[in-house]
Amino acid sequence: MKLDSKVPGGPLEEKWDKHIKDIKLVAPNNKRKFEIIVVGTGLAGGAAAASFAELGYNVRSFCIQDSARRAHSIAAQGGINAAKNYPNDGDSIWRLFYDTIKGGDYRSRESNVYRLAQVSNEIIDQAVAQGVPFAREYGGNLANRSFGGAQVSRTFYARGQTGQQLLLGAYQAMMRQVHNGNIKYHPRHEMLDVVVIDGQARGIITRDLVSGELNRYEADAVVLATGGYGNVFYLSTNAKNSNVTAAWRAHKRGAAFANPCYVQVHPTCIPVSGDYQSKLTLMSESLRNDGRVWVPKKKGDDRHPNDIPEDERYYYLEERYPSFGNLVPRDVASRNAKMVCDDGLGVGETGLAVYLDFRDAIKRDGRETIESKYGNLFEMYENIAGENPYERPMRIYPAVHYTMGGLWVDYNLQTTIPGLYAAGEANFSDHGANRLGASALMQGLSDGYFVLPYTIGDYLAKQEPGKRYGTDHKAFEEAENAAQSQIDKLLNIDGDRTIIDFHRSLGKIVWDKIGIARNAEGLKSAIEEIRELREEFWKNVKVPGEKNNYNKYLEFAGRVADFFELAELMAEDALQREESAGCHLREEYQTEEGEALRNDEDFSYVAAWEYKGLNGKLEETLHKENLEFEFVELKQRSYK
C-alpha cells in the first residue's frame, strides 16, 4: 500500500484554487451516465448527495434512520466556525487555519486545513441562503460568539441547536433533489459491505432494516459519510445507532484506517449516574463562555455548592491557564477535570464530576440574558439531572464525543480504494489529534458542499461513462454471501449473554485503558482483554428474533462485532504512538507541569493501518504518511 496524499504544490493560499483549475471536468451529458452512492445523510452525506444531484449525477442515498433528517449531526449544539471576521476582532482565513493546526497539536495535514478555513466562509453563505435561521444582531447581520481554543468570536450559531438547523438545511436540499428525481432515497438501510472490482469501488451491499433483505447496488463511486466510532466506548455522546460498520468493512476491503487512537473526550457532559445508563449527554461548550468551572478545595466537602464560600473554591482552569481560562481546548479541559477528580476533589454521588457554575454570570447579566443564550440547554440539564441549573451549579464530567481518526483519505478525500471516498467524521483528515469546538460542522459541510463535488468529478472524468459490471458479478455475489453468513452465524450462536452486556464490557475496557489517559501496560492488557472478550462474544452472544424482519438487536450484534475489531486497532495505534498529542495522552510522555509532551522528531506522521487478517488476533500493517509543515512552525502548545 502506498499513501499518496496528492497535495498540490505551490503556496498554501493557492493550492485549492490551483487544484480546481487542474482537475478534470465531466461534461453535463456524461454526468447523467454516472451513478454515485452516498452512505449517510448527516452534514457531509446530505450536503454531498444534494450537491452531486444538482450537478447532474444520479445519486443513491442511504441512511440507517427512518429519515435522512435524523442523522446524528442534528444533535450538534454550539455552532460552526468561519473566518468572516464580522466582529472585526482580527480573524482571518490564516488565523482559523493556524488555530485549527495548533488545536490539533500539529498532527493534521496543512493543505486540508487551509482549504477548510478557505471554504468556511462559503458554508455560511450557503446555509443562510437555504434559510438556516442563525442568530442575528439588531441591525439584521449575523451574530457571533466565541468557543474553546480560540481568542476571536468566529462561531455562528442558532441558539443551542446549530447542528439541527444546518442539518435540516442539507436535508431539505436533498429532499428537493429527491423530488426532482435526481436522488433515489433509501432510509432504514444499512451498508454491510463495499464491493471492489478490479481494484475500484463499484458498489455496496445493504440490508433493508425493515424486511431484512440484502440488496446489491452498483455505482461508479461510493462516498461514506457515516460518522464516527465513539460508540465503541458504549457510553458516549453519540446517538445510539451511530456505528463504525460501513467504515470498518471498507477497511477490511483495503481502505487504510488512520489514527484510530485519536478520540476526543468532551469536557462538559452530564455525568454517569448508573449501570443502566445507555448514553451520555453533552452540554455545549459555549456554556464555558459564561459558566465557571470549579471544585471544592477540600476533599470530600459535601456542602451544598452554594454554601461553599469563594475562597474555598478551586477554579482550576482559570488558575492554571490564565489567558484562556475556562475556554481552554477540550483535551486540556478534559484532562484537568480527570486530574482533580483523581485527586479526590470531584463532586456528586460518584465523585466523578466538577461544577459548571453560572452564579456569577446570572449576577452580572441577569437570568433573562442567560436564559436567552442557553435556555434549552438548561432545560435539558434539568430534565436529565433533575436539578435546576439556574439555582445550583451543573455537574459535568468528560465523555467520549468525537473521533478524529477514521478512513485515511488523500487531498481529494479518496480512500486507498480508488472510487471510494470518505467525508466528515468518517475520514481522519482535518482535526489532527484534537478537534476544536465548532469545527465538526464546518468540516462536514466543507467536505459535502465544497470539496467532494469537485474532486469526485476528477475521478469520474477518467472513468468510462455508463460502464456496468452488473450486480451478478462475482464480487457482488461474494460480498453478499459474506454478509449473509455473518448474519446467520450471529443468529445461530444462541448463547446466554446479551449483546448490550458484551458491548458494555467492551466499552469499560476501552474507557479504562484507551480513554482520557493511556500507558503501555494498560494498552497491552487492553489488547488481551479485548481478544478474550471477542472470542467469548462469538461463542456466547444471544441474538434474538429472525433475519427477515425488523430486528434492532441483530443490527446491534453486527455493529458490536465490528467494534470488537476496531477496539484492538485503537489500542495498537495508541501503543505505537510513543508521545502525547492532543487528546492522546500517554502517561509516560508528559512535561514537568503535566502537559502533553509531543515528539515531532519521531511521530510527526499519520498512522494509516492496512488490514491483513483476523485470526484470534487482528493483523494490521502500519504505514506512515509524514506530515510536512511548510507554513507553520511547530511549537509546544500552551494555553497559559
Partner: protein, 252 residues
C-alpha cells in the same frame, strides 16, 4: 441515594404491518428513578431476551430530544405526561412505585406500524419533498450579510424551525392531521426573505401533499400544541391557512 421502583408495563406487540396487534404485560422490579423512559425499556428488553422472549421494538437514536426518532404514546399521551419533553428525555423520577404504564405506537393511518412500537413516518419526508426548502444551488449563494434579517423575524423563524418531525402532533390529533408539522416548516421558511420567492408555490404544494398522504384536516383542537415536545405554536397552522388562501385566491 437513588430510589428503586416496581413498574407494571403494558405494551403493544405487532409482528408486522398486516399482523394482528395485541397488548403484552410485564412487571419490572428494579426501575431506578434516574433512568430515562427508554432506558427502562432497554432493561425490559434485556430481561425478555434472557428469558428467551422477543424484545419489544421501538424507535430511538439521539436520546437527547433532538433527532425526533422516538414517538411513544404513553398512557394515551404522545411522549408521555411531561409537558414539552420527548419520550427519550422523560425520566422515571416522574413515576412512583407500583405505577401502571401503557405504551402504544402513534395511531394514524398515514403512519403504518412496521413492528411493535415502530411506525413508518415517511409521509413527513414526502411533505418536505413537495416544497419544504429554498431552491438554492450549492456554491451560488450571495454573501451571507447581503440579506439582513430582522432579529425578531429570525427568532420567530427559528421557533418554527425547531420542529423535530417526531409525529406527536399527528398522534395527538383526533383527525390525525399533520398540520402542525407542515405549518411549522412553512412558517419557518415564509418568515425569512430567503423563503419569500417561493412562498405561494411552497404552501400549495405542501398542503396538497399533506392531503394526499391521508392526514386529516385541522379542526382547532390544539392537542398537537399540547403534546409538541419542542413547543411549536399552533399559530403555525393559522399562518399556513392564511398563506394557502392567499396563494389559491391570487390565482397566479
Amino acid at each position: 441515594m437513588s430510589k428503586e421502583m416496581t413498574i407494571h408495563l403494558k405494551y403493544w406487540k405487532q409482528n408486522g404491518p398486516n399482523a394482528q396487534g395485541y397488548f403484552e404485560e410485564y412487571t419490572l422490579d428494579n426501575v431506578n428513578e434516574h433512568m430515562s423512559f427508554l432506558e427502562m425499556l432497554d432493561v425490559l428488553n434485556e430481561e425478555l431476551m434472557l428469558e428467551g422472549k422477543e424484545p419489544v421494538e421501538f424507535d430511538y437514536d439521539c436520546r437527547e430530544g433532538i433527532c425526533g426518532s422516538c414517538n411513544l404514546v404513553i398512557d394515551g399521551r404522545a411522549h408521555g405526561p411531561k409537558h414539552r419533553v420527548a419520550a427519550c428525555q422523560l425520566h422515571m423520577r416522574n413515576y412512583s412505585d407500583g405505577d401502571h404504564i401503557t405504551i402504544e405506537p402513534p395511531r394514524a393511518a398515514s403512519f403504518p406500524v412496521i413492528k411493535d412500537l415502530v411506525v413508518d413516518r415517511s409521509a413527513f419526508d414526502r411533505i418536505i419533498e413537495a416544497g419544504g426548502y429554498v431552491s438554492v444551488k450549492t456554491g451560488s449563494a450571495a454573501e451571507a450579510n447581503a440579506i439582513p434579517v430582522e432579529k425578531d423575524k429570525a427568532e420567530a423563524a427559528f421557533d418554527y424551525a425547531t420542529c423535530i418531525g417526531c409525529g406527536a402532533c399527528v398522534a395527538a390529533c383526533p383527525n390525525a392531521s399533520a398540520s402542525l408539522f407542515t405549518g411549522a416548516k412553512i412558517a419557518h421558511l415564509n418568515k425569512l426573505p430567503q423563503g419569500e420567492v417561493e412562498r405561494k408555490d411552497r404552501v400549495v404544494a405542501m398542503v396538497d401533499q399533506m392531503k394526499e398522504e391521508g392526514f386529516g384536516d385541522c379542526s382547532n383542537y390544539a392537542e398537537c400544541e399540547a403534546v409538541c415536545p419542542v413547543g411549536i405554536s399552533i399559530s403555525a397552522i393559522a399562518e399556513m391557512r392564511r398563506d394557502y388562501m392567499k396563494a389559491v385566491m391570487s390565482g397566479d
